[in-house]
Symmetry: C2
DNA sequence: TTGTAGGCGTTATCAC
DNA sequence: GTGATAACGCCTACAA
């Protein structure tokens, strides 16, 4: 027979635990925290833990944050969650942070510096212990300032000129080399590059890698065959390809700065009745989801998104643990996924 | 000539503002809070605001939360961010919450009830003021319990049996009717349905809508032509279609529970050399990104994801403002996007 | 209209 | 090893 159950509306606090265990709240606090548990008598600790268990005590992270000025939380600054590149990175980050007892706050910036500043401010006011930043531009005053202020940061996919920050990126050199080798092996000699925005390190490094790769294959690196896209987007990719075609330049293959830019090419192919890969081959970069079901399935350079996220989280945790450690950067190896958007040039 | 700048390392607090303005912290607090500002002399208020501005004072949300047991934060419970359905919904939510002064905490559950419970617990301990839940199953003990405990919630895309909660969903009836009408108009009479999981309200309502629509078109609603997929995924869709084909049933078109299930059909078409749409038409549901570039471009029922998110956020804000208000639910109108995965049956 | 005082739940620093 | 006390930054009765 069960007696009347008193149900309290507010969550149990440390005092409740202490009272139930017959100890002072300070002792209960020490017993509950693995760090300080050695300071307290083993029996007492057991008693406290049992009491906590019995009433379902959960420490209040807000009170803890207020006291410790820490939060077990890190901020994730990304341009736009709807870009399919980011969700797997986010998952990789979370899957490393969670077991380590950390949580991630995700914010979107829409590539708007003002919005970025507000969002970062809001993260800071929530006492995030560090930032994982995917929005870095080569010139990035905000990040420079944050770094000066001692904010712990890790960059993903991008880097900032002159800023020694830990970063995790794909090996762009190797990736672009794979793409160019593949096209060269198919017999292409006139290859164009639709470069990503040159205010991002990734845009620059892939463009540089493209020049080097062309040179390595003893192919003409015609400046007229490289066009910069204003954004990492389909529309920007389409616009860039249109301008290249309109310029009258002759080429039989395109190395796109990323998959979205490559997909923008598909739109232009449809507009102008260009057959891919018969008349024009395209290689993307990133291996975003569902490329295998595209028309045609897109050949692309695959990078390990999930691992990029995981590595970034690990680097940040390292930085939090050992603030003085010299910044490491991680380069992850890409691989080429050959599909049907590339083939031999028509007049090979 | 600029004098020496004193840089304080810790963020300015209310005391700093008060001191600078020459008032008591309580007065500063009242002046800073629009709610209580009328209580304080207009001149004093101005002085305080100016002081706050000058030292870049930002209230500490953690201290505020501890005091008020509120957080201006809502939790977003989704199964998996890498499902392309969710990012636009998340954006819609954020774009409504942000102007209202709220932030969103996103958590993934991976459809794992244990993980869901932990994540929700962590949200609650952070004093989130409400939850937007995209993981609802028809039977969902956790949500029932949270509702009993008075947690404010809004459901997106899904509903829970017997639980009167505000929800935002696409009008599944209308959507499926559009799909079936389209196929019927093309001349299809034997139409199959690859239903979503029947433990989700969406899976059930689309399956029911399918039966109704077939009936409305005086087409045979053969139970053998409906197969349930275990998950809303490509692999589950592929498996379901394989089993249907292997059963020897005859049909010329498929209404898929969602786009992923439809894309799973593409895999089977490739495996078995089935031409789409010549031998088999397929309609998806959701209009996820990049369907226009698929092979073949997928005909689908478009639902306004971004608006779904926005509506959900509005419903939650309403609930927070007026807790006693009767739960409303919002049904958003879908539209049909006809592409190349549907055509007349071969032997029409 | 403004100031005073107390406390939200936790932890760090003292004593004992 | 444990208890007392104060403080993190803010808000809000209550008093003046």
């Amino acid at each position: 027979m069960t007696g009347p159950r008193i149900v309290r509306m507010t969550a149990p606090t440390l005092r409740d635990v202490a009272q139930l265990a017959g100890v002072h709240p300070a002792t209960a606090s020490r017993a509950l925290n693995p760090q300080t548990r050695p300071l307290v008598n083993a029996d007492t600790a057991r008693k406290v833990l049992r009491a906590a268990e019995s009433i379902g005590y959960q420490p209040n992270p807000i009170a803890r944050s207020l006291k410790t000025a820490r939060s077990s939380t890190v901020g994730l600054v990304i341009p736009d969650l709807t870009n399919p590149l980011f969700p797997p990175i986010v998952r990789g980050i979370e899957d490393v942070l969670t077991p380590a007892g950390y949580n991630a706050w995700i914010v979107n910036t829409d590539n708007d510096p003002d919005r970025e500043e507000t969002q970062v401010e809001s993260l800071r006011s929530r006492q995030v212990e560090g930032l994982i930043v995917a929005t870095a531009k080569r010139e990035h005053p905000l990040l420079v300032r944050l770094h000066r202020q001692g904010i712990k940061m890790v960059l993903v996919n991008r880097r900032v000129d002159g800023l020694e920050l830990p970063s995790v990126t794909a090996d762009d050199d190797a990736g672009v080399a794979l793409a160019v080798s593949h096209l060269a092996a198919l017999g292409h000699t006139r290859i164009a590059h639709l470069a990503g925005p040159q205010d991002t390190s990734t845009g620059v490094s892939r463009a540089r890698a493209f020049r080097h790769a062309m040179h390595d294959h003893r192919l003409a690196d015609d400046p007229a065959l490289t066009v910069e896209c204003g954004y990492w987007s389909e529309t920007a990719g389409a616009a860039a390809l249109r301008s290249l075609l309109d310029s009258g330049a002759s080429f039989t293959a395109v190395v796109a700065g990323n998959d979205l830019i490559a997909l923008g090419c598909y739109d232009v192919f449809a507009e102008r009745g260009i057959a891919c890969p018969e008349e024009m081959s395209v290689v993307g970069f990133n291996e975003m989801p569902f490329l295998d079901k595209m028309r045609p399935p897109l050949t692309t350079v695959a990078i390990p998104h999930y691992e990029i996220g995981g590595e970034a989280a690990r680097l940040l945790l390292d930085t939090l643990d050992e603030p003085e450690r010299h910044p490491r950067s991680v380069l992850l190896a890409p691989s080429l996924v050959v599909r049907a958007s590339t083939g031999p040039p028509r007049s090979a």
